[in-house]
Amino acid sequence: MSIRERLSGNEAVATAMKQINPDVVAAFPITPSTEIPQYFSTFVANGSVDTEFVAVESEHSAMSACIGAQAAGARAMTATSANGLSLMWEMIYIASSLRLPMVMNLVNRAVSGPLNIHNDHSDAMGVRDSGWIMLFSENNQEAYDNNLMAHRIAEHKDVQLPVMICQDGFITSHSIENIELEDDETVKKFVGEYHPEHYLLNRKEPIAVGPLDLQGYLFEHKTQQANAMRNAKKVIEEVSKDFEKLTGRKYSFFEEYKLDDAEIAIVCMNSTAGTTKFVVDELRSKGVKAGLLKIRMFRPFPTVEVAKALSHLKAVAVLDKSDSLNGAGGALYEDVVSSMYVAGNNVPMVNYVYGIGGRDTKSDDIESVYTDLQEIAKTGKIDNPYRYLGLRKGDAK
């Protein structure tokens, strides 16, 4: 039975964690994810979970402790944002290379510097090649649901990779919205128990984890990881279908919003998709065939499926909430463009870097992108594909 509630994104995540009841949570405070360990430590203090909460002295130690815990045979979870993730960076790679299926909530925020505590995706984009499965969430509901699905995806024998669940700092983490929760028993049953095959605390089979892995082996071990990431696609699909059966809430690699018959479309992630849906509806009422493709599964990247979903369009805009500072375009743009190119789809595509450091992105801004797309669709011409949205002084040159 679903329960109707009103929760912020952080509360939704903490609630999911409470229901998952992981063995260990190690976390460090950082805006805007701080509330997650705060709420969770209250559950610990009140005895509502069996979790050992490790209040570490840094995010580097948070990830290290999660690695130690997960390798020991426990289910481990953490949460962080921005610079916290930056400090974890070294350990992020180690967690995935040791094939430890932990789950982390990343409440997206701008990575310094200069210091800014507000939302963009520069933290997530910095670890996009780290071997973590990355799921993005438009709102509190999706953040909650992704948490419920994450362990089953991560722990699947064909995967054994950590999962990172992203949501937008403040925009969803601190906004209270309606949400449907599942009851504790349903969650417990859906998530299931964790029974690793090999783990440090198994005295019957002591193991060694984290070798010096030289020229004869590292290539194969990395490729095993790459294969696990490829396998994750199928597992994410299966788990999402099971979840839909249970809750009626449908999840896929991405969400297509009025995309079928669209002529122009925006590709984006997280909360901007909500604003975009509103704009799509407005434009549709005026007869403009606008659509949206909202990426949920950013890693592994659904190249073939994205290319197929966008193949019929006349123009596409990819919105990146992080600038790659590479003179070429944002990370999501590059992924979408290369997917299209490999599939042989020659659709004019343009990139907008937007919302940096929490710069508000309003419906007018999104509408201006569709206006640009209409022009591109008409002429087929793109002067400069690497653009900025909501930046003073117009396009950067």
Partner: protein, 316 residues
Amino acid sequence: MPYNLKEVVANKPSRFTAGHRMCAGCGAPVVGRMVLRALKEEDHAVIANATGCMEVSTFIYPYSAWTDSFIHTAFECAGATLSGAEAAYVSLKKQGKLPEDEHTKFIAFGGDGGTYDIGIQSLSGAMERGHDMVYVCYDNGAYMNTGIQRSSATPKFADTTTSPAGKVIPGKMQSRKDLTEIMVSHHLPYVAQTLALNPFKDLYEKAEKAIYTKGPAFLNVMAPCPRGWGYATDELMQINKLAADTCYWPLYEVVDGKYHITYKPAKKLPIEEFLKPQKRFRHMFKPGNEWMIEEFQKEVDRRWQDLLDLEEVTNK
């Protein structure tokens, strides 16, 4: 039962096997192996290792020289990594997911680089949080794994590859950090400093206390490096003895804040005895550099006196 070396070696199997690839004559395996011998045979251990000589020589895929469970993650986080494993143990045990009558002990090993320097935050955090674990620093006084670079554990004037004894600057110009005292300031139930001194009683007994004292414990163990220190590989035990007899490396323990010096040399030897066999101090013996030895001696004497005072004060 009183300690007996022969009995211990005969009856307790080595949990740190042969076939590791540390240098000939390395002081660290001797320490690691004896620390693990202090485990009760029936107890399982989870060992965490900071990146360093010991790690890269004992777990080269596909070979592990550890008969217990072992984890290495990175250079600076053996403390945090092991604290996570310990938290997992506490949680699973509490939930009845592990047998009640079987015990696992948690032991971290790190060199001085991974402990005094880059790993001090992780160590401090793990100790402050009170995890039931032992952190063992094998201190060879420099970053030996990367080729003998100075660390904060390197003694003053030592010639290393990043504090070379040059024409203007005669080696490392800073004093050695006293990590043992920093750990004492964490108010842990057990902190000790020791080294391998035949018949290994001091090391064994301190390891045993550290492992079987509930809560966090710290052992700082000097472990000479023939390559980095510049002495012949066969002199390991003599160098250790000189470190103890000159009071360069005092052997003591602090139990709940009370100091106890466990080895007081019958005759405290001049520091030259310790410095002379080591090439890293060779320049100190050149004519005109007598002041360096004098200064070194003063520092050793001051620290030794401090310890004697602390022992007296804390046992009043």
